[in-house]
């Protein structure tokens, strides 16, 4: 093939087999990987040049089949059908060969450009489940390579094979060809079904517009399975469809479907036997026993809560000295700026930018620690068990257990939380999950908690923070419960979650994950928060002549105008202004308070200023934390909500609902807390 021709390579495979890990290994990107199914929900692209060939790599969401039932399966399937990649690489979990080969049987029918990468070979070998790649390659007559994604092993071989496959001209095999292995897949169905496939293929051959685009055998099989999508394609040519109906109606789709699945399984087990080296003893594995402990009916949830409790405790206590350090440095810099840069510029630097951005930067250590811990819990496979445990109580309330996965992802940031809801097939359940995901306390809210809990609940800060996260979950569940009974009536879909295997987390992966979070946080500090700080500073400094940050400034006027809404919650105008700007990004709440309290002025940081403010009390602090936890998610999350729900109406509803809930719950908290604190 010509030098520097662009090659398009798609990575496809079952969930949690290491597609994204391989993608990252090839491209050097740092897309999120994680030890549970459904981490990737969107198509991601990357570039690499290998031996003079430019290759575009596309990472796809995991899929068990390409029969297209849920949105992420559709993404994977449409990719192959519409974008016609030069090479489709199926990443296979070698420890789970049979289940993965199911998808292979389908892929081999839908595209002639298939190759396999046997990933996780390290685990497979450790478990005595090695697979003979050469033999498999011969059996299927497609290239097969071995890889270990996490160690970047076999990546060059994979790319070599891909370039070889693209150059072999296999993909140019005429669509009407049904017999050659590269076009027909490798499964032979029962004679009756094969007969039907031949008859349908003969009719289809008459329509060049279809057969030039899709493999005929695949079209025939899909028609037998009554695949709605394919039927639609065929119906476009009404003549053809009329000719097909007599053939199709002589086969019962249920029988055909069962027969086809049966054929696949028979072929798979024969194939697996031939290529597997060593054999598995069937026994109750220690991993199942451990599952029993961690998902125990009584102890499962308490263990999860205790671990979370410890995680938040660590986040707060271990972060404290590093916060002090950053706080001191920020204090120096800002004093230096105010003292040495004259006039307005000094003020915008010291009171605005450094005070605002600095007060947010202080919380970087907490973010890093929390995500380090979460990443370890996730990579071991524990978080997936936590999701499983939560299924029981959720289901008892009539809620879809699957909803807990998006909710857990929402802990990092609500944006991936919304996107993870794509794995939910039922439209109502999906919308319901989208509506409650904003209550999951994302990383951006953590600085607010650390600040206020640290100042006003010093001794129990970790516990207060943990309780806020819990409150978020409880409100989400209660809301879902109400919605299920009013807006989205119906039976929740049963939740069958596959447990990912236990894996020993690597320090490197955890550090990398932690850092990518930290980087995101820093980038936000340099953009949104910086701009927010400048705007708040300007509002606090003008009109010309007012005292900085006084009630006569524009900020004061704005705050005073909306303050009546917040009056019952005990918030003054400064907090009101900060809350408004928190819509940009929740960290801005802290940034704005930093600016408004003129944290830059002296070495006394925002913490001291808050302690001295008579308006602020433990009760107000608690109320404020609850309010920021529950009120609307940031702009970015709201935009994604609109994208994922496809509806302004529901997005608007979410905005109103979260604000009203936040107000009501905060009001209750304020009044109850008064009695105790």
């Amino acid at each position: 093939m010509a030098e520097n021709k662009k090659l398009r390579l798609g990575l496809i495979g079952n969930p949690n087999v290491g597609k994204t890990t391989i993608f990252n290994a090839i491209t050097g990107a740092r897309q999120k990987t994680g030890n549970w199914p459904g981490v990737t929900v969107e198509k991601k692209t990357g570039q690499v040049t290998h031996k003079g060939v430019d290759i575009e790599i596309i990472d796809l969401p995991g899929t068990y089949a390409i029969t297209a039932y849920s949105p992420d399966e559709i993404i994977a399937r449409d990719f192959i059908l519409d974008e016609k990649p030069d090479v489709v690489v199926q990443i296979v979990d070698t420890t789970n060969l049979e289940r993965n080969l199911y998808l292979t049987t389908q892929l081999a029918e839908i595209t002639p450009n298939l190759m396999l990468a046997l990933n996780l070979t390290d685990f497979a070998e450790a478990q005595g489940l090695a697979v003979d790649a050469d033999k498999l390659s011969k059996e299927l007559s497609i290239p097969v390579v071995k890889t270990v994604g996490t160690r970047k092993e076999g990546i060059n071989e994979l790319l070599d094979a891909a370039i070889g496959l693209a150059g072999s001209g296999k993909g140019t095999c005429a669509g009407s060809c049904t017999s050659c292995t590269s076009c027909g897949g490798f499964v032979n169905f029962s004679p009756k079904t094969e007969d039907a496939i031949t008859k349908i293929s003969e009719v289809l051959a008459g329509d060049a517009s279809l057969t030039s685009k899709y493999l005929t055998r695949w079209l025939a099989i899909s028609l037998l399975e009554e695949d709605a999508n394919v039927i639609e394609k065929v119906k476009a040519n009404s003549d053809l469809y009329a000719k097909l109906s007599p053939v199709l109606s002589s086969y019962s789709p249920e029988v055909a479907e069962a027969d086809i699945a049966d054929g696949r399984y028979t072929a798979i087990s024969a194939l697996a036997q031939k290529v597997r080296i060593g054999k598995v003893e069937s026994k109750i594995s220690p991993s199942d026993t451990l599952d029993h402990v961690l998902t125990d009916k009584w102890l499962g949830i308490p263990i999860f809560l205790a671990l979370m409790c410890a995680a938040f405790d660590l986040t707060f206590t271990f972060g404290a000295p590093f916060m002090t350090l950053i706080e001191t440095v920020v204090g120096w810099i800002s004093t230096f700026a105010v003292d040495n840069v004259p006039g307005l510029l000094g003020s915008i630097l010291g009171d605005g930018i450094i005070a605002g951005v600095g007060s947010v930067l202080v919380f970087l250590p907490n973010i890093l620690i929390l995500f380090f811990v979460l990443s370890i819990l996730e990579d071991t496979g524990y978080l997936a068990r936590a999701a499983f445990i939560m299924d029981r109580p959720l289901h008892a309330l009539g809620l879809p257990g699957k909803a807990f996965i998006p909710m857990l992802s929402g802990f990092g940031c609500n944006v991936p939380g919304f996107m993870a809801a794509r794995t939910i097939e039922d439209e109502k359940d999906r919308l319901l999950t989208l509506l409650v995901t904003p209550f999951m306390s994302c990383g951006a809210r953590l600085p607010i908690y650390v600040l206020f809990a640290g100042v006003f609940f010093t001794a129990n800060a970790g516990e207060v923070i943990f309780s806020l996260y819990l409150l978020g979950i409880v409100i989400a569940i209660v809301s879902a419960f109400i919605f299920k009974r009013t807006l989205f009536k119906g039976e929740p879909a049963p939740f069958i979650m596959e447990m990912p295997p236990y894996r020993i987390p690597t320090l490197f992966a955890a550090l990398e994950h932690m850092w990518s979070r930290g980087e995101l946080y820093l980038r936000k500090a340099g953009t949104f928060i910086l701009i927010g700080a400048v705007i708040v500073w300007a509002l606090a400094s003008f009109p010309v002549g007012v005292e900085y940050g006084s009630q006569e400034s524009y900020a004061g006027a704005l705050g005073t105008a909306i303050q009546p809404i917040f009056e019952p919650l005990g918030f003054d105008w400064k907090i009101s202004v900060a809350l408004i700007f928190g819509f940009v990004a929740k960290e801005v709440v802290v940034g704005s308070l930093g600016v408004l309290y003129g944290a830059g002025d002296d070495e006394g940081a925002l913490t001291d200023a808050l302690l001295e403010d008579p308006v602020m009390s433990p009760v107000t602090a608690l109320t404020l934390m609850v309010f920021t936890l529950l009120y609307l998610p940031c702009v970015a999350a709201t935009a994604v909500m609109r994208q994922e729900s496809g509806s302004w109406k529901w997005t608007g509803f979410m905005v109103v609902y979260t604000c009203v809930t936040a107000w009501i719950v905060s009001f209750i908290v304020a009044n109850v807390a008064k009695l105790f604190i």
Binding site: P286, H292, L294, L299, I303, G319, A320, Y502
Partner: protein, 157 residues
């Protein structure tokens, strides 16, 4: 029947030392959990201070959960050995994890004092000690002797 069951699971008997250590750990975690709970609601005994039991509902909760995991392991000993064994392993791992968190917290407390140029670094550190810290001895022992094999077993099984 009992025999065929046993031959299926690799470790058909739990070392009695593991059983013993698990039992002691379970009882102590339970006792400290209860004391921590009483301290939280304001009831204290003279010896509480020397054991660093200063109250805290979440601390009590964590202690009690750990106790429950150990004791469940002990109670299941006769019914399902493999599961009982796994409960003990998880107990030791939890004890170790919570202990490490407690140690890190105390170290951080000292570091914070040091950065703040305060005098009573050691006193400051001692203030943050909870039973979870010294109970890590059980987690550490249990981990080194037995629980570390759990990783190897579940990952390569």
């Amino acid at each position: 029947m009992a025999n065929s069951n046993k031959s299926k699971t690799n470790s058909n008997s739990v070392p009695s030392a593991k059983y013993g250590l698990g039992l002691i750990a379970g009882i102590l975690y339970l006792a400290f959990g209860i004391m921590q709970l009483t301290a939280t609601v304001g009831f204290t005994m003279p010896f509480y201070e020397s054991l660093y039991i200063t109250g805290g509902i979440f601390n009590a909760f964590v202690l009690l959960v750990t106790a429950a995991v150990f004791l469940t392991g002990i109670l299941r000993m006769n019914r399902n050995t493999a599961e009982a064994d796994a409960f003990l392993d998880v107990g030791f791992l939890l004890s170790l994890a919570f202990g490490i968190v407690a140690i890190l917290g105390t170290l951080a407390g000292g570091l914070d004092m040091w950065i703040g140029e305060e005098e009573e670094i050691v006193e400051g550190m001692l203030e943050t000690v909870t039973p979870l810290l010294y109970m890590v001895v059980f987690g550490f022992l249990g981990y080194c002797l037995w629980a570390k094999d759990l990783f190897r077993k579940v990952v390569a099984a």
